[in-house]
C-alpha cells in the first residue's frame, strides 16, 4: 500500500506497481477538459483544484498533452510550460502525465526526428509519465519518444490503441504488446487506450486477462471514456482482470465524453474488495467542492449534443474529438445531418479505409471524409491532403487491409497505381534546421526566444507567435478566472472584478460606461485600482458593408488554370511553398491551406514563374481570396 510520488525512479515506481494489492488512479483532468469542454478548462481552475488534487494521492495527473498544448497557446493564452511549473509548485508529490501522439507529438501530423527529440526533452523536465500512442499502432512511429523519455529518466507508458471489429482480436493486441516490449524492454507501463470508450466490460476484461496471461509482470493502465455511460463497467472488468491503474476524473466536471467520476470508481471497487491505493477519499470530494462553482462558466464549451451517446459503438468517434466535431457540425449548419454522418457514413468509411483506430489524426481523417461524403453528395470526391497521405501509407502501413482500388482511383485518378508506386510508403521527414528556425523566430518576435518558446514555435509556428504577441500586449492573462476570461455578453455597468496578477498582487477593476463617439469609436471606461482608464476601440469593419463577390468553384478553378491561384475553400494559409521568381511545373506544390486541423496542398495547374505572392502565412482566407500569381510564358 505504497503511495507513488514524483521524483521516484521509474524502476522503483514499477516495482511498487507490480506488488500492488489494490489499484491506482490517474486523474485525467486534461482528457476531461478536452472531451467535455473543448480543452478550455483554464489554468486558473486547475490551480484552484491543485491543493485538493495533491492531497488526493493519485498515481498521476494527466494535465498536458493531446490537443491541450495547442489550445493552451491558441485559446487559453497560457504558456504550456509555465502552466506545468505553476502546478508543480502547488503539487510537489503528484506525478504529471502527458498524452503524446508519437511522431505527431501534440500536433496533427508528423514532425522531424530532431524536433520530436527536442520537444520531448523540454517537456520531460516537467512530465513524469509519458503516455504515447500512434493511431495506426505502428510502433516505429513512437520510438524516438520512447528513447528520449528513457534518456530523461521518466516513465514510458506506450499505448495499444483499442477498437472493435473482427480484426481486433486478443492475439492481434498481444502481438502489438510484444512489438512494443521488443523496443522498450520491460520497464514500462502498458496503456490500453480506449479513446472511444468502445467495447463491453466483458470485452475489456478478456483483453486485460489475455495480456496478463501472456505477460504476467506487465503493469496495465486502462484508459477509457464514458461516452456510452458504461466506462465504470469497463474499469471494473479491467481491474478485476489485472489492470493496476485506471483513469477517471473529478465529478464536479465530469460530462458525457470524457472520463467517469473517480468517486464512483472508488465506491464500485470497494464493493469488490479492491482498494484505491494512496487515495484520500475526502480530498477527492474536496476537489470537486473547490471547483464546482467554476463549471457554469464553461457551459459554452460543452458539446452541442447533451447526454450519453451509446451509439459511439457504431460511429467510434473518440471522446476527445466529440466536442470539436459537434461544434463543426453546429457552426457548419449540418447538425441535422448527424444521424446520417455518425450512424451510416462514418462506420462505412471506417470499414472502407481499413478499420484502424479512430483517434488523432486518424479520427479527423475519418470525420472530414465522412462529412464531405455526405455534404458533397459525391463520396471521396473532395479528398483532403491528409486522406491522400493516409492512402499513400505515409502515416504507416495499414494494419489489417488496404482500402479497395476504387477509392484510390477516386482519390488519385486513373493512374493511381503509378502515384502509389512513386509516392507510396512511410514518409521520411528530414531533420529541420533548428538554428534557422530559431533565427526566423527571433526575427518574428524581435527578441531572442527561450528554448521553450522555440519548442512551442516548432510545434505550431503561427499560433505560437500570436501567443507571444498576445502576452506582450495583454500580459499574463492566465491569472483571470473563467468568469472574466470567458465572459460572454460583456460585463454589467458597475460590476467589480477582482483578480490577482502573476506576482500575486490583487487588483480591482470596476466596469464603467462605454460610449460611442461621433466618429464611431467606442470609449470604454474602466476603474483600474481606483484610477479611471479609458480604452478606445476603432469601429470594426461592418460585415457585409463591402460585399466581396464570392467566386464559384468553377471560377476559382478557371483562374487557377490562368495562373491566378485563389483559395479553393475557407482556411488558414499554413505555408507558401514557393518564392517570387521561382519557376514551377504543373503539379508542383505552391501553398498549403489548413482547415479543420487538416492540411491541403495547393498544386499548380500550370507551368510558369511565380510573379506575386498576395497572401501572408497565417492569414485567414475566404474562398476566392488571392494567394499567389504565376506568370505563364507566352508560347
Amino acid at each position: 500500500m505504497t503511495r507513488i510520488t514524483q521524483g521516484m525512479a521509474p524502476s522503483e515506481v514499477l516495482a511498487i506497481l507490480r506488488q500492488a494489492d489494490g489499484y491506482y488512479i490517474t486523474n485525467t483532468a486534461r482528457d476531461m477538459s478536452q472531451s467535455d469542454y473543448k480543452n478550455r478548462i483554464l489554468l486558473h481552475t486547475d490551480l484552484l483544484a491543485a491543493p485538493a488534487r495533491e492531497a488526493a494521492g493519485y498515481f498521476s495527473l494527466e494535465i498536458t498533452g493531446g490537443a491541450s498544448v495547442h489550445v493552451d497557446i491558441l485559446r487559453k493564452q497560457v504558456d504550456p510550460f509555465l502552466k506545468l511549473e505553476l502546478l508543480r509548485e502547488k503539487m510537489p508529490d503528484t506525478m504529471f502525465q502527458t498524452l503524446c501522439r508519437g511522431v505527431n507529438l501534440f500536433g496533427y501530423r508528423p514532425y522531424p526526428q530532431n524536433v520530436i527529440r527536442l520537444t520531448v526533452r523540454e517537456f520531460a523536465k516537467y512530465v513524469d509519465v509519458w503516455r504515447t500512442f500512434d493511431f495506426m499502432n505502428h510502433i516505429p512511429n513512437m520510438e524516438a519518444v520512447f528513447e528520449e523519455v528513457a534518456k530523461a529518466g521518466k516513465i514510458n507508458e506506450p499505448c495499444i490503441c483499442f477498437s472493435t471489429g473482427p480484426e481486433h482480436t486478443n492475439d492481434y493486441y498481444i502481438g502489438k504488446v510484444r512489438e512494443i516490449l521488443d523496443v522498450t524492454g520491460d520497464e514500462i507501463i502498458l496503456c490500453i487506450k480506449n479513446h472511444g470508450g468502445l467495447g463491453t466490460p466483458r470485452r475489456i476484461g478478456e483483453l486485460v486477462n489475455a495480456i496478463k496471461q501472456a505477460y504476467p509482470d506487465l503493469v496495465i493502465h486502462y484508459h477509457g471514456h464514458n461516452t456510452d455511460g458504461n466506462d465504470i463497467g469497463r474499469i471494473t472488468a479491467a481491474i478485476l482482470n489485472g489492470a493496476t491503474i485506471v483513469d477517471a476524473s473529478d465529478h464536479a466536471f465530469t460530462g458525457f465524453y470524457g472520463p467517469p467520476p473517480i468517486l464512483t470508481v472508488i465506491q464500485t471497487m470497494k464493493d469488490h474488495g479492491r482498494t484505491a491505493i494512496g487515495i484520500d477519499e475526502e480530498a477527492v470530494i474536496a476537489t470537486s467542492d473547490a471547483i464546482r462553482d467554476e463549471r457554469p462558466h464553461y457551459a459554452q464549451f460543452e458539446a452541442q449534443i447533451k447526454g450519453f451517446l451509446p451509439t459511439v459503438q457504431i460511429h467510434k468517434l473518440p471522446g476527445g474529438a466529440m466536442g470539436s466535431s459537434l461544434e463543426q457540425a453546429s457552426k457548419g449548419g449540418f447538425l441535422d445531418r448527424m444521424p446520417d454522418i455518425l450512424h451510416k457514413e462514418l462506420p462505412r468509411v471506417q470499414i472502407e479505409l481499413g478499420n484502424w483506430w479512430s483517434v488523432t489524426p486518424g479520427s479527423q481523417i475519418l470525420w472530414t471524409t465522412a462529412v464531405s461524403n455526405v455534404l458533397e453528395g459525391e463520396r471521396y470526391g473532395n479528398p483532403s491532403g491528409d486522406l491522400k497521405n493516409l492512402l499513400l501509407g505515409k502515416y504507416g502501413p495499414f494494419p489489417f487491409y488496404r482500402p479497395e482500388d476504387w477509392i484510390y482511383e477516386k482519390v488519385f485518378g486513373r493512374n493511381w497505381k503509378e502515384i502509389l508506386d512513386k509516392e507510396g510508403g512511410i514518409e521520411q521527414i528530414e531533420d529541420m534546421d533548428i538554428e534557422k528556425e530559431r533565427q526566423t523566430l527571433t526575427e518574428r518576435m524581435g527578441a531572442e526566444p527561450t528554448e521553450q518558446q522555440l519548442v512551442l514555435y516548432l510545434q505550431h509556428p503561427n499560433d505560437a507567435v500570436d501567443f507571444f504577441k498576445f502576452e506582450e500586449k495583454f500580459g499574463k492573462a492566465y491569472v483571470l478566472p473563467p468568469s472574466i476570461f470567458l465572459r460572454q455578453g460583456g460585463f454589467q455597468l458597475g460590476e467589480t472584478l477582482v483578480f490577482r496578477d502573476d506576482t500575486g498582487k490583487e487588483h480591482i477593476v470596476e466596469i464603467g460606461p462605454a460610449q460611442q463617439t461621433d466618429d464611431g469609436e467606442t470609449n470604454v471606461y474602466l476603474n483600474v485600482d481606483h484610477d479611471q482608464r479609458l480604452f478606445v476601440f476603432e469601429p470594426e469593419a461592418q460585415e457585409g458593408s463591402a460585399p466581396v463577390a464570392q467566386l464559384s468553384k468553377q471560377e476559382i478553378a478557371r483562374l487557377a488554370r490562368q495562373g491566378d491561384i485563389r483559395a479553393p475553400f475557407a482556411g488558414n494559409l499554413y505555408a507558401v511553398s514557393v518564392e517570387i521568381g521561382q519557376e514551377v511545373a504543373e503539379g508542383d506544390q505552391l501553398a498549403v491551406l489548413e482547415a479543420m486541423k487538416m492540411q491541403t496542398p495547393i498544386t499548380s495547374e500550370v507551368a510558369g514563374t511565380v510573379s506575386e505572392i498576395q497572401a501572408k502565412v497565417g492569414q485567414a482566407l475566404q474562398p476566392g481570396d488571392p494567394i499567389l500569381t504565376i506568370e505563364i510564358p507566352e508560347e
Binding site: 487559453k76 493564452q77 500580459g475 483571470l480 477593476v509 470604454v524 483600474v528 485600482d529
Partner: protein
C-alpha cells in the same frame, strides 16, 4: 483687501511659490499663456490673468507681466526660475514700477549675469577660480588669445558665450585644431542666440563634481549659507538629480566651500536667496563657477535637510523683514534627494514627450516624501514648455534610508500616457556606483547600462486592456 503677490511663472514652481504666498496670508496672482489654460497653477492661485497666446513670448514679455501686476494690484513679483528670473531688465522694470522684485537687486543680477564681470568680482575677493580668460578680443586677435590660453593651461577647454547660461552656449574643445574650427561658429551662434557674440575660455576640470551652496542674505548684509548640494548627475549640462548635502565631503571641505560661498555673496553685495556653484576636482580643490541669482529648481533638497522654507524666507526678506535665523541656527541633518520627473524618453536621447495626455497619475506619499508638481489625470502636457512634470524629493536620516525611500516612491509612482524618466531613475538608483555615492558629472556618459530598461506597462493595465476588449466585443475573441 489682502496684499497680493504676482507669480511670474508657470508649472510646478508657480504652485510652489503660490503655496508660500498663501501661507503668509497673502493672495497669489497667477499669469498664464493660452497653452497653459488647463494648468493647475491657475486653479490654485487666488486669481489668474491671461497675458497672451505665447508660447513663452508672453511669459518673457516684461511689459505684459508688469502690467498684469499693476492691474491686479499686486505689490510684489516672484519670478521663479527661468523666463525673467535672471533678467536684470525685468528686476529694474519692477523697481521702476514701484513693485517689489523678490530676488536680488537688478544691479546684482546684471553684474553676476555677466560671467566675465562676475569672475572679476570673485577674483578680487580671492575666491578660487578655474583658469579662464576675459572676453576674447574680436576677430583673429581673439583666436590668437585663445590658442595661447590653450597652450598655457592644456586641453580640454570650454568655449563659453558670455551671455549664455543654463548649459546653453557652451562647447568643449579638445585640441587646437578644434579650437580654430569652432571659434567662429561659437561666436556666430552666440550672436544668434543671445544677441551678443562675446565669448571667453575656461579650463575644463575633468570629471568634476558639481557642488553648490545655497546662500541667503537680508538687506542689512546678514548672509548665511544653508549647506551644500551635489548636482553632478546631469545630461548635457542639465541637472537631473540633486542631493543635499554634497556627498563624500569632509567636514573641513564642506566648511571651506560654504565659507567661500558666503564670502562670494558678500563680495557681490548679494541680497535674498542665491546659489554659488563650484566645481570640485578629484583632488578636493574647488573652483568658483557662477552665482545663480534666482530660486533654484533643486532648493527643495536644502529645505528638507535644514527645515527652512526658502521661498517663504525670500518673500519675507523682500517685504522688508530681516533674517530671523543666524548661521548657528542652520543645522542640516540627514540626506535629501530630488529627482526631476520629466515627460521625456531617456532611451531616445531624453526626447520630450509633450503633447501627450496623462491617463493615470498616482503619486506616492508618506514619511519623508515631498512632491512639487502640477499635473493631474487627464492633463495634456503642452508641447511648448519644458518637460518637468513633478519633482520628487525624499528625506532620510541615512543615505541608504533615503535611497530605499526613493526606490519605494519610484516603484509606486504611476504616470501613464507620456514616457517619463521614472523607469530610468529606478535603474539608476539600483546602480552600485550611485548607491556608493560615486558619481561625478560624467556619470551618465560612463554608465550606458542605465539606459537599458523596459518601459513599464504595468501588468494590470495590460490585463485591463483585455478586460475592456472582452467587454467591448462581448466575448473574448482570443478564447473563442
Amino acid at each position: 483687501m489682502k496684499t497680493k503677490i504676482l507669480v511670474a511663472n508657470r508649472g510646478e514652481i508657480a504652485i510652489r511659490i503660490i503655496r508660500a504666498i498663501q501661507e503668509l496670508n497673502y493672495d497669489a496672482v497667477a499669469i498664464y499663456e493660452t497653452p497653459d489654460r488647463d494648468s493647475r497653477h491657475i486653479r490654485i492661485a487666488n486669481e489668474a490673468i491671461w497675458i497672451g497666446d505665447g508660447p513663452r513670448s508672453d511669459y518673457l514679455d516684461i511689459d505684459k507681466v508688469i502690467d498684469a501686476a499693476l492691474r491686479s494690484g499686486a505689490v510684489a513679483i516672484h519670478p521663479g526660475y527661468g523666463f525673467l528670473a535672471e533678467n536684470p531688465e525685468f528686476a529694474r522694470a519692477c523697481e521702476d514700477a514701484g513693485l517689489i522684485f523678490i530676488g536680488p537687486a537688478s544691479k546684482t543680477i546684471e553684474e553676476l549675469g555677466n560671467k566675465v564681470k562676475a569672475r572679476q568680482i570673485m577674483a578680487d575677493a580671492g575666491i578660487p577660480m578655474v583658469p579662464g580668460t576675459a572676453n576674447l578680443s574680436p576677430g583673429e586677435a581673439g583666436l590668437e588669445e585663445a590658442i595661447a590660453f590653450g597652450r598655457q593651461h592644456g586641453y580640454p577647454i570650454m568655449l563659453k558665450a558670455t551671455s549664455g547660461g543654463g548649459g546653453r552656449g557652451i562647447r568643449r574643445i579638445e585640441n587646437e585644431d578644434e579650437l580654430a574650427e569652432q571659434y567662429a561658429i561659437a561666436r556666430s551662434e552666440a550672436k544668434a542666440a543671445f544677441n551678443d557674440d562675446s565669448v571667453y575660455l575656461e579650463k575644463v576640470v575633468v570629471r568634476p563634481k558639481h557642488v553648490e551652496v545655497q546662500i541667503i542674505a537680508d538687506r542689512k548684509g546678514n548672509t548665511v549659507h544653508l549647506g551644500t548640494r551635489d548636482c553632478s548627475i546631469q545630461r548635457r549640462n542639465q541637472k537631473l538629480i540633486e542631493i543635499a548635502p554634497a556627498f563624500h565631503l569632509t567636514p573641513e571641505q564642506s566648511e571651506a566651500i560654504c565659507e567661500t560661498a558666503v564670502r562670494a555673496a558678500r563680495a557681490a553685495n548679494y541680497f535674498n536667496a542665491g546659489t554659488v556653484e563650484f566645481l570640485l576636482d578629484a583632488d578636493g580643490s574647488f573652483y568658483f563657477m557662477e552665482i545663480n541669482t534666482r530660486l533654484q529648481v533643486e532648493h527643495t533638497v536644502t529645505e528638507m535637510i535644514t527645515g527652512i522654507d526658502i521661498v517663504r524666507t525670500q518673500i519675507k526678506l523682500a517685504m522688508g523683514k530681516d533674517l530671523l535665523f543666524t548661521q548657528d541656527d542652520v543645522q542640516p541633518r540627514g540626506h535629501a534627494i530630488e529627482m526631476r520627473i520629466n515627460a521625456e524618453d531617456p532611451r531616445n536621447d531624453f526626447m520630450p514627450e509633450g503633447g501627450k495626455t496623462i491617463s493615470v497619475y498616482r503619486s506616492p506619499g508618506g514619511y519623508g516624501v515631498r512632491l512639487d508638481g502640477f499635473c493631474y489625470q487627464g492633463f495634456t502636457i503642452p508641447e511648448v514648455y519644458d518637460s518637468l512634470l513633478v519633482k520628487l524629493t525624499v528625506f532620510g536620516w541615512s543615505w541608504h534610508e533615503t535611497v530605499d525611500r526613493l526606490r519605494r516612491c519610484l516603484t509606486n509612482f504611476v504616470i501613464t500616457g507620456p514616457k517619463t524618466t521614472i523607469p530610468f531613475y529606478l535603474n539608476l538608483i539600483n546602480d552600485p556606483d550611485f548607491q556608493a555615492g560615486e558619481f561625478d558629472t560624467s556619470f551618465l556618459d560612463t554608465h550606458d547600462h542605465l539606459f537599458e530598461y523596459e518601459e513599464q506597462v504595468s501588468e494590470v493595465n495590460k490585463l485591463a486592456r483585455l478586460i475592456a476588449e472582452i467587454h467591448y466585443k462581448r466575448q473574448n475573441t482570443y478564447a473563442a
